[in-house]
C-alpha cells in the first residue's frame, strides 16, 4: 500500500464538486493528515467536466501525481477522463440508479461500487446531499473514521442550522452503512489519523490573509479567474480592521482606486490575472513616477487573450518585467508555495513602502486553487514585521523643505528614497504627477532635473538590491551535477520529483527562485553544475531566457503549456530525459 491516497470526485460543473471535495479535504485535515488538492476542468474534451482531487498522506504532500485510487464518478465521463490515472484495484463509487449511469462499465481490474446516492440522500432529507452520501461511502472504502467527516460537515453547514448539519451527517452515515452492507471487499486502505492540528487553505486565501496581517486596509479589484478568491476572502474580513474592499468597474479603475488610497496613506492592493494586468499597465508608470507604494498581484492563467481562463500557466513574466512605456521601476516577488503566498504578500507591502514603488506579487493558478494543509504556526503572526518606510509627521518636515519652506516629496536623497507625507499632515501639502517633476512634485522639462529624478528613482532599485536579501530556496543535494531552477508553483512537484530521481540514483540540486526582479545571482550555481535545467509552465521559457542572459550560458528547458501543472512523476521522467543524451555523449 502506498503512503499516500489519491482521491477525487468528478462530475459536471454545477454538481457541487468543489464544495464536496473541500469537505472531504477538510475532514482529512482535521484528522491530522496532510492534504494537497487540485482541480480539473475538462482536460481532454471541451465541456462541463470538472473534478476535485485530493492527495493525502501522514507526511507532507507538495504536488499531484499521476495516480487515482478512489474516484467518486457522478458522470460516466468522469471515469473516461481519468482512465490513465486509474489503476489495478482503484475503487469507483457511482450511482447505478442514475439514468445516465445505468450502463456504466467499470474496467475489469477495478472495484465498482454501485451506491444509490440519490435515493439514500432523499432518505436523509433531500437529493441535494447525494455527494455527501458518496463521501460516507468513501469513508467506508478507505477505513476513515466518519467522525472527521461529521466535523467537516458541521463546519461547512453550521451557518445553515443544526437540522441541515444533522441531515448531512445522516446522509454520510447512510452511504457508509450501505457500502459496508453491500460490499465486503477489503480494499487495503487504512487511513491513519494523527493528533496534529492543521489548517487548510489555498494560495489566494494565503495572499488575502497576508494582506490583512500586513495592514492592508484597501483592496480594489475586478472579478477575474483565478484571482477572485483574494477579493472574496478579504470582503468582510478587512472590514473588521477598518478597511474596505471595493469592486471597481474595470481594472483601470481598480488600480487607480488603489493608487488613490495609497496616496492617502493606506496600504493598498489590487489583484487580477493577465487580462487585468494588460489594463492596469496603463497606470504602472504613474505609480512608479509618483513613487507610490502599491502592491499589484497577478495570479497568472493561460493566455494570450482570454486563453484558457481556468488553466495553469506562467506566461506573464515578460509583461511584468517590461510592461508599460518608458522605463518603469518596479520590484517583482513571486511566492513558490501556498504558505509563501502569505509571507511574500507581507514582504511585498514592506518593499512597496520602503522603496515607494509598485511591487508585483506574481502567483499562478496552481497556487491559487490548491488547498494545502499547514501547521498553524506556519503563519505565526508574531513573526509579522511592518516597515512603513520614510513617513514624515509635521514635526519632521523642517529637514525636508526647500528655501521657500515647501515640502519636497521627491527630494533626491542619497539612497533615492524620499520623505513621504499623507494628506492631512500639516505643512506637507504637495502635488505629484506622472509628468516628469522636480523635487516639489511639479512638472518640469529641465534637462538636469530630469536626469536627477530618473537617477534618484533608479537609486531606489540599487538600494533595494543592496539592502534586501534576494535569496533562493534550496533543496536536494548541494553538490549534485544537475541543477534544476524554477519559479512559482512548480516547487512542490520538483521537490517530489527529486525524491523519485534519488531512487534512480540521480542527484539534483534545486533552486526555487521567489524573486524575479531583482533576482538572486545564480552564476556560481550554474557554473558549478554540469547541466542546468529550468522548469516552467510556459512555451518560450521566459525565466530560462532571463537566466541565460544573467549567466551568459545556455540552459536546458522543461516547458509545459497544455494548461495543466507539472506532476511529480511526470517531471522526474522529463528530467531523466533531459539528462539521458548527455550521459550518452559522455560514455
Amino acid at each position: 500500500m502506498p503512503d499516500d491516497l489519491n482521491w477525487a470526485i468528478g462530475g459536471e460543473a454545477g454538481d457541487g464538486i468543489n464544495s464536496t471535495g473541500k469537505i472531504f479535504a477538510q475532514a482529512l485535515s482535521r484528522a491530522g493528515r496532510h492534504v494537497y488538492t487540485s482541480k480539473d476542468f475538462a482536460s481532454r474534451i471541451r465541456g462541463g467536466y470538472t473534478a476535485y482531487k485530493v492527495r493525502t498522506s501522514v507526511d507532507r504532500v507538495e504536488s499531484v501525481v499521476d495516480r487515482l485510487d478512489v474516484l467518486i464518478a457522478l458522470t460516466e465521463r468522469t471515469i473516461d477522463e481519468n482512465t490513465d490515472e486509474l489503476h489495478d484495484g482503484s475503487v469507483i463509487i457511482y450511482d447505478g440508479e442514475r439514468t445516465s449511469m445505468q450502463d456504466v462499465e467499470i474496467p475489469e481490474n477495478m472495484f465498482g461500487l454501485d451506491v444509490p446516492l440519490k435515493r439514500l440522500a432523499e432518505d436523509a432529507g433531500g437529493a441535494i446531499m447525494r455527494n455527501v452520501v458518496a463521501l460516507g461511502a468513501a469513508c467506508e472504502v478507505v477505513n476513515f473514521p466518519i467522525e472527521y467527516l461529521d466535523s467537516s460537515l458541521s463546519k461547512r453547514f453550521s451557518d445553515k442550522g443544526t437540522a441541515i448539519v444533522e441531515n448531512n451527517q445522516q446522509a454520510a452515515r447512510l452511504g457508509q452503512e450501505y457500502t459496508a452492507e453491500n460490499y465486503d471487499q477489503d480494499y487495503d486502505y487504512d487511513i491513519e489519523t494523527t493528533d496534529e492540528d492543521y489548517v487548510l487553505l489555498n494560495g489566494d486565501e494565503a495572499i488575502g490573509m497576508g494582506a490583512l496581517a500586513a495592514g492592508c486596509r484597501f483592496y480594489s479589484g475586478y472579478p477575474i479567474t483565478p484571482a477572485t478568491d483574494v477579493m472574496e476572502y478579504l470582503t468582510g474580513r478587512i472590514d473588521q480592521y477598518g478597511g474596505k474592499v471595493v469592486q471597481a468597474e474595470d481594472e483601470l479603475a481598480a488600480i487607480n482606486l488603489a493608487l488613490g488610497a495609497a496616496r492617502a496613506g493606506a496600504r493598498a492592493m489590487t489583484a487580477t490575472s493577465g487580462p487585468g494586468i494588460d489594463l492596469m499597465t496603463e497606470t504602472f508608470g504613474l505609480v512608479a513616477a509618483t513613487e507610490t507604494p502599491l502592491v499589484v498581484c497577478d495570479v497568472m492563467r493561460a493566455g494570450p487573450s482570454t486563453g484558457m481562463p481556468t488553466k495553469q500557466e506562467q506566461g506573464d513574466l515578460d509583461m511584468l518585467l517590461y510592461g508599460g512605456h518608458g522605463e518603469i521601476h518596479r520590484l517583482i516577488v513571486g511566492p513558490t508555495t501556498v504558505a509563501e503566498c502569505f509571507w511574500k504578500t507581507i514582504e511585498a507591502f514592506n518593499l512597496a513602502e520602503r522603496y515607494q514603488m509598485p511591487v508585483f506579487l506574481v502567483s499562478d493558478l496552481a497556487l491559487a486553487v490548491t488547498e494545502q494543509t499547514f501547521s498553524p504556526d506556519t503563519f505565526d503572526m508574531d513573526e509579522v514585521e511592518i516597515d512603513r518606510g520614510k513617513i514624515m509627521e509635521s514635526d519632521d518636515l523642517d529637514a525636508w523643505v526647500d528655501e521657500k519652506e515647501r515640502f519636497q516629496p521627491h527630494f533626491p536623497t542619497a539612497d533615492g528614497i524620499s520623505p513621504r507625507t499623507f494628506p492631512g499632515t500639516d505643512g506637507g501639502a504637495h502635488m505629484t504627477t506622472g509628468l516628469e517633476h522636480d523635487s516639489l512634485g511639479r512638472r518640469t522639462e529641465d534637462t538636469e532635473v530630469r536626469v536627477e529624478q530618473v537617477d534618484k528613482r533608479q537609486r531606489k532599485v540599487d538600494t533595494a538590491r543592496e539592502q534586501e536579501e534576494w535569496d533562493w530556496r534550496e533543496f536536494g543535494d548541494p553538490d549534485a551535477d544537475t541543477l534544476v531552477v524554477s519559479w512559482g508553483s512548480n516547487e512542490g512537484a520538483i521537490r517530489e520529483a527529486i525524491e523519485f530521481l534519488a531512487e534512480d540514483d540521480i542527484d539534483i540540486r534545486f533552486l526555487s527562485v521567489p524573486y524575479l526582479f531583482p533576482r538572486p545571482d545564480l552564476s556560481e550555481a550554474v557554473e558549478a553544475a554540469e547541466t542546468t535545467v529550468v522548469v516552467e509552465c510556459n512555451a518560450r521559457g521566459q525565466f530560462a531566457n532571463l537566466l541565460e542572459r544573467d549567466v551568459f550560458q545556455q540552459v536546458e528547458r522543461i516547458n509545459k503549456y497544455n494548461g495543466v501543472r507539472f506532476e511529480a512523476d511526470e517531471l522526474a521522467a522529463e528530467i531523466t530525459d533531459v539528462l539521458r543524451p548527455q550521459e550518452a555523449t559522455t560514455q
Binding site: 492540528d197 492543521y198 489548517v199 487548510l200 487553505l201 486565501e205 490573509m209 490583512l212 496581517a213 500586513a214 495592514g215 486596509r217 484597501f218 480594489s220 474580513r237 472590514d239 477598518g242 478597511g243 474596505k244 471595493v246 471597481a248 468597474e249 474595470d250 479603475a253 487607480n256 482606486l257 488603489a258 493608487l259 488613490g260 488610497a261 496616496r263 492617502a264 496613506g265 493606506a266 496600504r267 493598498a268 497606470t283 504613474l286 509618483t290 498553524p376 503563519f379 503572526m381 508574531d382 509579522v384 511592518i386 521657500k404 499623507f422 494628506p423 492631512g424 500639516d426 505643512g427 506637507g428 501639502a429 504637495h430 502635488m431 505629484t432 504627477t433 506622472g434 511639479r442 512638472r443
Partner: protein
C-alpha cells in the same frame, strides 16, 4: 489647522500657462474660493486632475494633489476619500477626460456617490492637442480631425449623470465668478458626489462655444420656478435641449454617501506595527 483660510492659500506660486482669457482661470478661482469658504485647508485637501489643459490645475493650486493618467482621475479621488474620509477630495477634469476616455469612470463615480466633488471644465474642444473634436462638441463642429463636423450627437453630461443616479448636478459659467463659486461650494457641501459641469470657453480653438455665445444663451435656473429637489423636473430641464442652464439643477436632499452606507469611518493610514492582535484567529478559521 487654521479656520480662517483664504482662497489665496490654495494658490501655488506657479503661474498658469493657460492661454490668456482661458475659462479655466475663472473655474480654478471658484474652486479655490469654494474650498476656502467651506472651511477646508490645503493640508486637508486632496485634488486629483486628469490630462488636458484642465489637468494642470493641481500645479497651480496648493494642496495635496495628484495629476494622473488621462481619464482616471475619478477612481484616484474615490480611493483617497475612502481611505481617509476626513479628507476633502475634489477631482478636476475636462470634457475629454471625463466624458470620453474616462466616461466609464464618470458613470460609476456618479453611481457610487462618494462624498466628494467633481468639476469638469467643459470647453467642447481638445485644446492641449490643438483643436480636435471633444465628446461635447456640436454635431456640425469642424475641426482638424472632423472636417465635416463630428456627425455624432454630443454627450449630454447632465443627462448622463442623472440617468446614472446622480445626487447633485450643477452647471456654471467660468466668467460668472459668484454663480460658479456658489454652485461649486454647494457641490462641496453636498453629502455625496457633487458634480459640476463648467462652461469654460477655449478662446484659442473653439470659435463657436465662445464667451459671447454663453453670455447670450445661459439661463440661471435659480431665476426660474425650478425646484432642484424635483428629479423629474431636472430630467426635463437637462433633456429639453436648446437652453444652457446654470445653477443647481438637481440635488437629492436625502443623499447618503457611499462611505456612510458602507460604514467606512477610519483613516486607513493608521495601522499597527505588526499583525493585528487577533490575527491568529484568521489562521484558525482555516482549521
Amino acid at each position: 489647522m487654521s479656520s480662517d483660510v483664504r482662497f489665496i492659500d490654495f494658490k501655488s506660486d506657479k503661474q498658469p500657462t493657460w492661454c490668456p482669457g482661458c475659462g479655466d482661470f475663472g473655474t480654478m478661482n471658484g474652486m479655490m474660493k469654494a474650498l476656502a469658504q467651506t472651511g477646508n485647508h490645503p493640508d486637508n485637501t486632496f485634488i486629483v486632475a486628469g490630462i488636458g489643459c484642465s489637468g494642470k490645475i493641481g500645479t497651480y493650486m496648493h494642496s495635496y494633489a495628484l495629476h494622473g493618467v488621462h481619464g482616471r482621475a475619478l477612481p484616484v479621488g474615490i480611493g483617497a476619500k475612502l481611505a481617509n474620509p476626513e479628507l476633502e477630495v475634489m477631482v478636476a477634469g475636462g470634457d475629454g477626460d471625463g466624458y470620453s476616455i474616462g466616461a466609464g469612470h464618470f458613470v460609476h463615480a456618479v453611481r457610487r456617490n462618494v462624498d466628494m466633488s467633481y468639476v469638469v471644465m467643459d470647453n467642447r474642444i481638445y485644446g492641449l492637442t490643438k483643436g480636435q473634436a471633444s465628446p461635447t462638441s456640436r454635431e456640425d463642429f469642424e475641426t482638424s480631425t472632423t472636417p465635416d463636423g463630428t456627425n455624432q450627437t454630443p454627450v449630454n453630461p447632465l443627462a448622463l449623470a442623472l440617468s446614472a443616479g446622480a445626487t447633485f448636478i450643477g452647471q456654471t459659467f467660468s466668467s460668472d465668478a459668484r454663480g460658479h463659486t456658489e454652485v461649486v461650494q454647494k457641490a462641496v457641501e453636498h453629502d455625496g458626489f457633487g458634480f459640476v459641469n463648467v462652461y469654460s470657453p477655449c478662446v484659442t480653438f473653439n470659435d463657436v462655444d465662445t464667451y459671447d455665445y454663453f453670455r447670450d444663451s445661459i439661463v440661471d435656473i435659480g431665476e426660474t420656478d425650478h425646484d432642484p429637489a424635483d428629479r423629474d423636473a431636472a430630467i426635463e430641464r437637462v433633456t429639453e435641449g436648446g437652453t444652457e442652464y446654470t445653477g443647481v439643477i438637481y440635488q437629492d436632499p436625502d443623499s447618503v454617501p457611499y462611505e456612510q452606507r458602507e460604514g467606512i469611518e477610519d483613516n486607513m493610514a493608521e495601522i499597527p506595527d505588526g499583525a493585528p492582535d487577533d490575527a491568529m484567529d484568521l489562521v484558525r478559521e482555516f482549521y
